[in-house]
């Protein structure tokens, strides 16, 4: 189709398409992550969760979205109109912009900046303005306190998380996300296995950065009603909501890219071809999974109480069939398409796993006090990250310059860092300050 469009704008076409796709899909994804969250919560609490809207509440997100869009949009009297209007936009915009460097697949990436990782970090760190300005603009103490808290929280944990990332960057030797994934492919193992402690630090830091439980102090219902979102409602509120979940996906994507091997499938080097073809057997796996889901849906469909639900369930089954078909078709399609499809699949799978960890943590741990939060960030994570960084650097030097066996050095570094972590933890346990420090700065 190259002849349809003038060559001058050719380089700009594909990115635009990708961008449109992302902006279109993201809200839907966010909605379904919410549904997933509620389902998981219900499961962990031995409940059913939403069941009414759609089969097993499958249509719940759509219902919520409609409700939010139709709600009245309230702006407080004393609020700073301009800021009140801008703030949510800032949040969501920055969240969306961050996707422009996110590699969903070897080809599925808007722009491969050679500072991609830094770019994502930078842009996602701008999201804080949405929160702070919104909290300030609504001219309410709850909002302001929540905003300040979340700002402080973000600034503190960005450092730790960034340092955790750097340990992986050391191994990758590049800031370009694509090359990072490539490095993991070349070195033959995901960096989560090389620098597990870096991964752990980033996990905690990312949870805090996205204001998720147990670090959800900015919107702690028991303390300040809903934090910076107290005065927001309706569409703007949903924008904040969207921004939060978009950010979750971003941090999950970053973690996937840096530690979980990005779009690489498990055991990327294992290759066993289908006889007579160049088809990897392992690539059949996704198709099989979708097929199974489809069959399950078809088996469920007649059991649905209402007719519409039967139809919906059947539709879902058909969707899954279609997906499986595409996968299979992609197997025999051109190289680029195949890589893109499968890369996207594995990427999303890993992201979902990471998010599941988020939910799991959220429903497991109680909320922190603010001073505890700060102490954890400044007195445990950051020193640990620094030590980890030094250890990893030493290990890398040892393996590169002195020719030690890389895995051994990495394991040694990890063990050393673990010791340090234990020491730090015991030290903090020793000097637990009084409760009067609560509320922090």
């Amino acid at each position: 189709m190259g002849h349809l469009i003038p060559p001058s704008i050719l380089p700009y076409v594909l990115p635009v398409i990708y961008g449109v796709v992302i902006v279109a899909v993201l809200p839907l994804m966010a909605g379904y992550i919410v549904l997933l969250e509620r389902k998981v919560m219900a499961d962990m609490q031995a409940r059913l969760g939403p069941m009414r809207v759609g089969p097993h509440g499958l249509l719940q997100p759509i219902a919520d979205a409609v409700k939010l869009l139709l709600k009245e949009d309230i702006i407080p009297e004393k609020a700073d109109k301009l800021m009140f209007w801008i703030a949510p936009l800032v949040s969501v915009t920055m969240a969306l912009v961050a996707y422009s460097a996110m590699p969903f697949g070897p080809a599925f990436q808007i722009a491969d900046l050679n500072v991609g990782l830094l770019f994502i970090l930078a842009v996602s760190s701008l999201g804080i303005y949405g929160i702070v300005l919104g909290g300030w603009a609504s001219n309410s103490h709850y909002s302001l306190l929540g905003a300040l808290r979340s700002a402080a929280q973000l600034v503190s944990y960005e450092t730790a998380a960034g340092l955790g990332l750097v340990s992986a960057l050391l191994l990758a030797g590049s800031l370009s996300l694509k090359e990072i994934v490539q490095a993991q492919y070349d070195q033959g193992e995901w960096f989560v296995f090389s620098v597990p402690i870096g991964f752990f630090i980033y996990l905690v830091g990312s949870i805090a950065e996205t204001n998720r439980a147990p670090f959800d102090l900015p919107e702690a219902e028991s303390e300040l009603v809903a934090g910076y979102m107290t005065e927001y409602s309706g569409f703007r509120w949903s924008l904040y909501f969207l921004a939060e979940y978009a950010n979750m996906i971003i941090v999950a994507g970053i973690a996937t890219t840096l530690f979980l091997g990005g779009w690489l499938r498990p055991f990327p080097h294992f290759s066993d071809h289908l006889p007579g073809t160049s088809v990897e057997i392992m690539d059949g796996l996704p198709a099989m999974v979708f097929l199974g889901v489809a069959l399950y849906c078809f088996w469920l469909a007649p059991k649905q109480p209402v007719k519409i639900q039967k139809i919906v369930m059947a539709t879902v089954g058909g969707l899954c069939i279609a997906l499986a078909g595409t996968m299979v078709a992609a197997l025999f399609g051109p190289e680029g398409v195949r890589l893109g499809v499968y890369g996207g699949f594995w990427f999303m799978v890993k992201v979902m796993g990471y998010l599941y960890a988020f939910l799991w943590v959220r429903f497991t741990f109680p909320r922190y006090r603010f001073d505890q939060l700060m102490r954890l960030g400044w007195r445990f994570l950051i020193p640990l990250a620094l030590v980890n960084l030094i250890a990893v650097a030493t290990a890398k030097v040892a393996s590169q310059e002195w020719g030690w066996y890389p895995r051994i050095t990495m394991i040694l570094a990890t063990i050393f860092t673990l010791g340090v972590a234990l020491w730090l933890a015991s030290r903090d346990a020793k000097q637990e300050p009084a409760v009067e420090a609560a509320g922090g700065d």
């Binding site: 050679n114 830094l118 970090l121 930078a122 842009v123 701008l126 804080i128 300030w136 800031l175």
Partner: protein, 168 residues
């Protein structure tokens, strides 16, 4: 081609406009926001100058760090008092005029030396590994300044802590 000029014009106008607004706003928060805008525009200029690393650093440090600090402090100090006061001091007119005179002088300098500065013809990839290049320069040629800068930061940090600490 044109796109380049368009980008530059966009960023330049955004930078100048928002900085003018920054200087003139009555509400400090608005000023801060417009300064952020100006900084982002500057970052865009950097990007257009193919300094990706500085572009990111500008965003992370300036926008994500320094300005967050500013907004923090603005929210800590009581605004609505200072908002109701006169915003410009006694010497505003003479100061403004003098600043403009200074600008005019530099403008004169630019006018004298117009057209003598040329950007080299763009190589196919101008320092594709901008980050590596900066790293090399920073850690080999500018090692000492780098260390001194780090010490400067340490001192500044201590000073800030001592200053902002209560009951001091």
């Amino acid at each position: 081609m044109a796109l380049n000029y368009i980008l530059f014009a966009f960023f330049a106008v955004m930078a100048i406009g928002s900085s003018i607004l920054m200087v003139t706003r009555r509400n400090i928060i608005h000023s801060a926001v417009f300064l952020i805008g100006a900084l982002l525009a500057t970052a865009g200029i950097f990007l257009q100058l193919q300094a990706e690393f500085l572009f990111v650093v500008q965003i992370i440090l300036y926008v994500g760090g320094i300005m967050v600090l500013f907004v923090f402090v603005i929210m800590l100090v009581n605004l609505d008092v200072s908002m109701r006061l006169v915003q410009f001091n006694r010497q505003k007119w003479v100061a403004g005029v003098l600043a403009l005179v200074l600008g005019a002088q530099v403008l004169f300098a630019l006018w004298v030396g117009r057209g003598e500065l040329r950007l080299p013809a763009p190589a196919v990839d101008v320092s594709p590994r901008n980050t590596e290049a900066i790293g090399q320069a920073l850690f080999q040629h500018y090692m000492l300044p780098f260390e001194i800068a780090s010490i400067l930061l340490l001192v500044a940090m201590i000073g800030a802590v001592v200053m902002a600490k209560r009951r001091v």
